[in-house]
């Protein structure tokens, strides 16, 4: 639809002085994940239709849209989790300028972390081991190094003070909100470049949700975040950019302030104001 135009618009709004080649290069470098003409399928059903969406570094991109519109699928295409459940995709997704299909999926997922809707800590592992699970897979064995990273990661998600005395307890004997922060800590412990979050707060109480939102703001300094959310206020509060998906199509993509105050399309406005969805 208006995707291409929107994309250019957005780049222009982010970097309005965009003219010379040099600057174009710079912008390109600033785009961590560049989605071009992405279509995704479950069998023969097309659930994403020709999506074009550049994700700039150190920003928070919110994906909104009614349930079933393909938000999760979009996220899962980026770290190739889509193929794990037997889906297929066409088009291009460039991660750091390289097509994701040229990465080894294992390595790609190390660099693009993911947090799920329901907290999913490993119940047989202690809190400590949950945080370092990804590192252990990558062959990091050094105890001291692991301890340092555990402390860092848990501090980043503001969980350190709550669990520092029970690091050896199972990862499931803490509250749901704590579990979700533990999962975020687990994702950032491997120092990914991008973190994908699929409705990370929708299963949590308001207080835990607020904590996670605060956390996002902190995480932005080091990571690029793509967050799917059902909650319009949340998208408006936390994100820099917002993309509105509907029935597998990218309807509008712009700065969050623009989308929520002055959307270009009527459809977007209707959705945001709660007229459908």
């Amino acid at each position: 639809m208006h995707n291409t135009i929107n994309t250019i618009n957005t780049i222009n709004t982010i970097q309005p002085e965009l003219t010379s080649k040099v600057i174009k290069e710079k912008v390109k470098k600033n785009i961590v994940v560049d989605v071009k003409n992405l279509a995704a399928y479950f069998g023969k059903t097309k659930v994403l239709k020709e999506i074009n969406l550049p994700v700039p570094r150190n920003k928070i991109l919110a994906i909104i849209g009614p349930s079933g519109c393909g938000k999760s699928t979009f996220l899962r295409c980026i770290n190739r989790m889509h193929e794990v459940v037997g889906g297929t995709m066409t088009g291009e997704i460039l991660f750091d300028g390289k097509h994701i299909m040229k990465y080894d999926p294992v390595q790609l997922r190390r660099k693009i972390g993911m947090v799920f809707q329901k907290p999913n800590p490993f119940p047989t592992m202690s809190i400590f081991n949950n945080v370092v699970a990804g590192l252990r897979l990558n062959g990091v064995r050094n105890k001291k190094k692991l301890s340092v990273i555990v402390e860092q990661s848990l501090k980043q998600v503001a969980l350190w003070d709550e669990v520092k005395d029970s690091l050896q307890d199972s990862g499931i004997n803490i509250s749901g909100g704590q579990q979700q922060r533990l999962c975020i800590a687990r994702a950032i412990a491997v120092q990914p470049e991008v973190i994908l979050m699929d409705e990370p707060a929708s299963a949590l109480d308001p207080i835990s949700t607020a904590k996670i939102e605060e956390l996002l703001y902190e995480l932005k300094k080091n990571y690029t975040i793509v967050i799917v959310t059902h909650n319009m206020q949340q998208a408006a509060r936390v994100s820099d950019l917002t993309a509105f998906l509907y029935m597998g199509e990218l309807i509008e993509f712009d700065k969050t302030s623009k989308i929520f105050t002055n959307p270009a399309l009527k459809q977007t406005e209707d959705y945001i104001s709660g007229r459908f969805g």
Binding site: V84, V106, G113, N120, P123, T124, Q179
Partner: protein, 328 residues
């Protein structure tokens, strides 16, 4: 789950009120229905008590005569009427553990393949085939053992093992075919479906969110499976113990291939005996009360061992079932 338990609670209180109401209303039909089914439930209760009692009283003669010696001495001599069950206990445990050592890795492999890897079209027929294995009568396994497995062991496998691994005490002696190795192999085949089908169900009960968490961290498929296995370990241990219980009590197939001699030998080629196979072989020949009593005591020992193992196993599988309720 929470909703379910609420329902239960509700219907319980409702039952009481209802009961009072019906008695007041003079509706005795319900009461009779309840009492009737209760009668049969009591019957099952009494049956188990009776089984325990019958075996205890049947073996009293032997218990009085031999005491604990019954379990630790190794002479089984019906002519002199000296009965020590050690060779049978040894044979039972060794054949069962060997069988477990063979079928645990295989069964787990099958379970992993079925629940994590196999494409949909292959999974159903494969599950069906492993379940068919469980449906073949023990005596048919025995028949197959006598005419196919044992000759194969005697002619090919045992000479081969003897030649290349003869320095180990397990592979010494004449290759009879009939013996501990044959018993262990046939038991392994028989318990494989138990291990594989229960483990498969247990692996499947691990929520997909666990797999996704691992994949998203950059785990290879095998590393994902390792995490799923860690999540299921108590359930798999339970499945293993259920299989062990089955192997220990298995009678016909073992009796037909183990060689039936009360012998304790490290060599797997040598014949042996199990508790179940002694009973099967000698029960109708028991010429004296003491002999019969010793055989019944064997049954008692078997009963106690299998009950303990089964209870532990069920506890573990059951704990596994509840586990995911605590993950939020």
């Amino acid at each position: 789950m929470f909703y379910k338990s609420q329902l239960k609670y509700k219907s319980k209180t409702k039952k009481k009120n209802y009961f009072n109401r019906l008695v007041e209303a003079g509706n005795w039909g319900d009461l009779i229905f309840e009492r009737l089914t209760q009668f049969f439930a009591l019957l099952v209760f009494l049956l188990v008590i009776l089984i325990g009692y019958e075996m205890y009283s049947g073996s009293r003669l032997s218990i009085q005569k031999f005491g604990w010696q019954f379990l630790v001495t190794s002479t089984w001599d019906p002519v002199k009427e000296i009965f020590g069950a050690l060779p049978a206990i040894y044979g039972t445990l060794v054949s069962s553990f060997l069988a477990l050592m063979i079928s645990l890795p295989l069964g787990l492999g099958v379970a992993i393949f079925l629940s994590e890897l196999s494409p949909g079209w292959l999974e159903k027929p494969l599950s069906f085939l492993t379940e068919l294995l469980a449906g073949i009568p023990s005596v048919v396994y025995g028949l197959w053992g006598i005419f196919v497995l044992v000759p194969w062991l005697r002619i090919s496998v045992e000479p081969f093992l003897n030649k290349h691994f003869g320095y180990l005490p397990f592979f010494r002696g004449a290759p009879y075919g009939f013996g501990m190795l044959a018993a262990a192999l046939i038991l392994a085949i028989m318990i494989l479906p138990i291990i594989s089908s229960i483990s498969r169900d247990i692996l499947r009960s691990v929520p997909d969110s666990q797999r996704e968490a691992a994949f998203a961290l950059g785990a290879t498929r095998w590393e994902v499976i390792k995490i799923v296995l860690a999540d299921s370990r108590s359930g798999i241990l339970g499945a293993t113990m259920l299989a062990l219980g089955r192997a220990i009590g298995e009678t016909m197939a073992v009796t037909m291939v183990i060689g039936n001699r009360a012998l304790i030998s490290p060599s797997l080629f040598d014949p042996g005996y199990t508790m179940a196979s002694i009973i099967a072989n000698e029960f109708t020949e028991a010429s004296s009360d003491l002999y019969l009593s010793a055989l019944i005591e064997l049954a008692l020992v078997l009963f106690v061992i299998t009950i303990i193992i089964n209870m532990a196993a069920r506890l573990m599988v059951w704990r596994m079932d509840r586990k995911w309720e605590t993950v939020k």
